[in-house]
Amino acid sequence: MAKPFIKPVITAAEAAGFVSEGSSLMVGGFNFGGAPYTLIEALCENGAHGIDLICVDTSYYNTRVKGPVGVARLVTEGRLRSVIASHIGLNRKTQELYTSGELMIELIPMGTFAERIRAGGAGLGGILSPAGIDTIYEEGRETIELNGKRYIIEPAITADVAFIRAYKADAAGNLIYCGTNRNFNPTMATAANIVVAEVDEVLPIGAIDPENVVTPGIFIDALVIRGESEYASRT
């Protein structure tokens, strides 16, 4: 079904309803920055369990910041069935669950994480990356030699739903970002069936110069205005 040209502005709770048991969910963000905090909070209220999370890190819990911050709550509240991430060092709980084997966690190089998602959104079967060649990361993965160099065959990643964070949208869902909040958000916007963007505000059509659009609205299904919680308002 075609996405509407004018994007509905919905509540975070409505957006959380797109995620159900067994859904795969991409969540943007890196460290503190660019995570859709309001959407994550609504998801924690809403109560979906058994989510397959795709997020570059699992944010803060019991480390430098006590937390749980952002997606860390999905971990501490036991909402997840599996995780694909690159870094879990800021979240003690994720590390515990990884070490004990209680949660299925695939740790992959961060550049590979980005490119697998890009491939997913770009209609590619996967990518070939030299990152992790001749390390334990290579174990259990297929490799290929091309022009005398070895690469790991990395399958594309897509998801049922992506929750992303942008700075501002226009009514057609065109997005601009702020600072380092951009991170994985524009890439994830291309790689999920349903894409919801949390933004500071929604401007009228024409308010964002097409030259400045980072994520075109064609990828977006719905917009959510950010809430006032500490991280939602500070990042």
Partner: protein, 222 residues
């Protein structure tokens, strides 16, 4: 003999030595720890373009005003200097993996004779995930390893063969410790610079890695 150095003195010696190897205008990606000291140790007239993996090109010093919307990879607010850019992670890693970074400075748990670097996990003890380390290790034009020569228990971090899981295979170009500089030259680890307060034989005796000593070994102040 080996000089007695405080933790801070040792780290600054390493950072200074690496800083003196970098060229004005180099695009540089810094790891966490000692590498982060490099910018403050640069010689006069040398300016680097610092890239952070989360999307800053030409990152400046820590920003006093606490804005979480522009942070470095460690989550610390930073400034984007004039002429800089903000990019997505996808592009940032294309920069890192694609051979566009002139030099990266990485910390180490172990580094070995074949230039293998282990710096991302200690099985059953610490599994933070590799983050961007594997990408930058294979992608940077030059990999500097900034490390104390010995760990806190006195065990040498320059080993014959890494026992910890590798971050990258054969990726190390230069190892800099508080005592010496070792360069990977035609597959051999060659000491090219030695601190003038450090005894060569004692250092070699206490180093697990087999090191060749350059015939043009430079002894200088670290």
């Amino acid at each position: 003999m080996l000089p007695e150095l405080s933790e801070e003195e040792a780290k600054i010696r390493i950072a200074k030595k690496i800083a003196s190897n970098l060229n004005d205008g180099d695009l540089v990606n810094l790891g966490i720890g000692i590498p982060q000291l490099v910018p403050r140790c640069l010689p006069e007239g040398v300016r680097l373009i610092l890239q952070t993996e989360n999307g800053v090109i030409n990152a400046g010093p820590t920003e006093e005003e606490y804005d979480l919307r522009i942070i470095d990879a460690g989550g610390t607010p930073v400034r984007v200097l004039p002429g800089g850019a903000l990019i997505s992670s996808e592009l940032s890693f294309a920069v890192m993996r694609g051979g566009h970074v002139d030099a990266t400075v990485l910390g180490a748990l172990q580094v070995d004779e074949e230039g293998n670097l282990a710096n991302w996990m200690i099985p059953q003890v610490s599994v933070p995930g590799m983050g961007g380390a594997m990408d930058i290790a294979v992608g940077a034009k030059k990999v500097y390893v900034a490390t104390r020569h010995f760990d806190k228990n006195g065990k040498c971090k320059l080993v014959r063969k890494c026992t910890l899981p590798l971050t990258g295979y054969g990726v190390t170009d230069v190892i800099v410790t508080e005592y010496c500089v070792i360069r990977s030259i035609y597959g051999r680890m060659v000491m090219t610079e030695l601190a003038d307060d450090t005894g060569l034989q004692e250092l070699l005796d206490r180093t697990e890695m087999n090191i060749y000593v350059s015939s043009q070994l430079v002894r200088e102040r670290f």
